[in-house]
Symmetry: C2
Amino acid sequence: MRFDPPSGTRDFLAAELESREAAFGTIKEVFVRYGFEPLQTPAFERLDVLTGKYGDEGDKLIFKILRRGEHEASGEADLALRYDMTVPLARVAAAYGSQLPSPYKRYTIGPVWRADRPGKGRFREFAQCDLDTLGSRSPLADAEVLCAVNETLTALRLDSFTVLLNSRLALAGLLRAFGVPDEIGSDVLITLDKLDKLKPAEVITELAGRGLADAQAAALVDAMTAADATEQVRAALKSNDEGASGLEEIDNLIALVRSQVPADQIVFTPRMVRGLSYYTGAIWEVTAPGIPGSIAAGGRYDHLIETLGGPDVPATGGSLGVERILALRSADTEGQRGRLDVAVTVMGDELAAASFGFAAAARSAGARASVYLGSSSKLGRQLKWASDAGARFCLIYGNAEQAEDCVTIRDMGSGDQTRVPAAELAENLSRLLSGEQQSLGS
Amino acid sequence: MRFDPPSGTRDFLAAELESREAAFGTIKEVFVRYGFEPLQTPAFERLDVLTGKYGDEGDKLIFKILRRGEHEASGEADLALRYDMTVPLARVAAAYGSQLPSPYKRYTIGPVWRADRPGKGRFREFAQCDLDTLGSRSPLADAEVLCAVNETLTALRLDSFTVLLNSRLALAGLLRAFGVPDEIGSDVLITLDKLDKLKPAEVITELAGRGLADAQAAALVDAMTAADATEQVRAALKSNDEGASGLEEIDNLIALVRSQVPADQIVFTPRMVRGLSYYTGAIWEVTAPGIPGSIAAGGRYDHLIETLGGPDVPATGGSLGVERILALRSADTEGQRGRLDVAVTVMGDELAAASFGFAAAARSAGARASVYLGSSSKLGRQLKWASDAGARFCLIYGNAEQAEDCVTIRDMGSGDQTRVPAAELAENLSRLLSGEQQSLGS
């Protein structure tokens, strides 16, 4: 019998779960202030809603659910676990239409499931965190998503990140400016995206291999890797209408977010193409030093929702790489709170009810409190339990305390002890826990 | 193409989701104050972890996940969706053993999946909310669970509920006192549980059908339905050791929780047997007037964790009927907050960046704020959007405001408007939103 969770999944015990939920809380708080509203769809969808939406490779990674009852023996599936948050969004947009606000600004945070090969930092059950605006063509909608992501990452204390910005229109204009034939356009873009990893000469060779004339390949790569690359690319883009519109889109977006995203934190990045072909306008990725890949990404995708079975609505959105971000944060979970603020000893059965009442008093003072639930009546053993639980204070109630109708409060840090009348316990604890009084000694 | 969620599942749009999450937040807050810590296990388990744990009927309701890749064609399953929270708890107890605190007090809130026939108020994906203490035989552990559940229900504003309390020991003693043969004991208990629905004569007939002698059946039912039933049953229980111990267990538990659960809110209920055979000690159900069945239930189950594949630990716990409770609360979701506090008009492209900045200023003042993302430049249209979004204030920034470097704040309730310097917007909004100033007019 194996007791580990299934391959690629995780059990979250208290410390890690609390850290994750705190991060999710921070994210939600920012998204809500931007006027995005939450959505939660079922863990599974009808199989036909998902199949054919993620390409052949994606389809193989869908977890399918066997039919039930008399149909189980057929070995067929009729349901499948959620693979991403976008297909369910398209279904919801189709299902609820005019019941949804227009534009529909929604965020969602929850698990998705992919039968990928599990590996370091790769899971089969992992959280996705998306925010999207359906029903607006306004560049303000793109700007809002970008600012919300920027503010969220800052709120999560990831402060040295950069937004790489580009536009599908600008990419089309770039290809046109350098005479790249339409039919090899997307291949050329995929290769150009490697300019951050490969040497320029290697990229030129790969472009040539994809059918681009040597001279054009060289001219394109030279322009994009020159010391004044941005100026050269800008000049090239202005040579045709698509490029000029794309450039205007980018500059307008940078201007819109200027008051919230500093100039050095959002950069027009001509080589950044985003692999996914469904983007139609502005595209962006957020990178952080020392972290491969991106920690957030998104863009405008005006036809995707219709392609996925939803209504024909313009759309823009983004996704936080929340598992990656959580992994970065997990290094800094020092100073974690104990499970308890107040631990209460139980020095024998006849004193148990009183001790139980003191724990209630501590809770009424806002503390996390519990009585000792073990079988030992030794004080040392119970103090060890209090210490293991990370309690700041331990309440001791033995025969001596009972005789005087009082309770001993022990500061677990300093070991200092003081007795207070039982009736005044809650107010004493309130004062101690609020930090009005730093310790029992003061 | 169907756009509704799969049978028995639900899409949660903003209002309902916010109401659910608020309730979950309330529950967590109470559980944490009692020193319970959160646990989250994966949505699916290996199939062999689940099968055989829920009886033949339960096994048929498990959602099984088809093997993947080359194995998909086999039609076999290797994983299955979580069916409850107890089997995963047993696995976690086995997997992490000494890494867990002792006793291990954990709560969990999350979806489980059962392929039941969906119906009114019955779902295939629904939330379960459990709290359990593993590793303590102390009655204080039972008392803690009971008080935490009581406090949670009160915090959820369910205030007219009753805890029905009994004990497996008392039930055994009751059967012995009335000479019920061991081999028909559990059948007799199942029938006795119907005393709240059937007439005494009907229960006697059913008991006789189960093999209990007529005279014994009549004596048992008479004692349990007499005007002084509790006294009669108490006297009967004291006639044997098991019964006496069970009665002591019940009275002790009532005494322990007395300071937190008023006497009329927790009642020794001899007929209440809880269907599940795994309970070993105190058992309880919480009922509320007008609501069939229970809104919470639990008890002590000292051998179940081992039976489910975990270590041999004593255990006690409970489960809130959280979907039922949420359904009761949904009637009272009046006075819901709008999606926005502050809506910001965009009166033309050249004013867009400034409007976008005003939304940012409103957010920095703690407001939920958004700019208008539609295509109309008509004020009336934009005010309608602000109103639909439930905004308390609308910021208007047109050419007149631009000329004076100010912003018009419109109170959407009263229609009152005032102009403030653009630079002083955030502080003005802070004041308005904090309610320091009730309206623009005052």
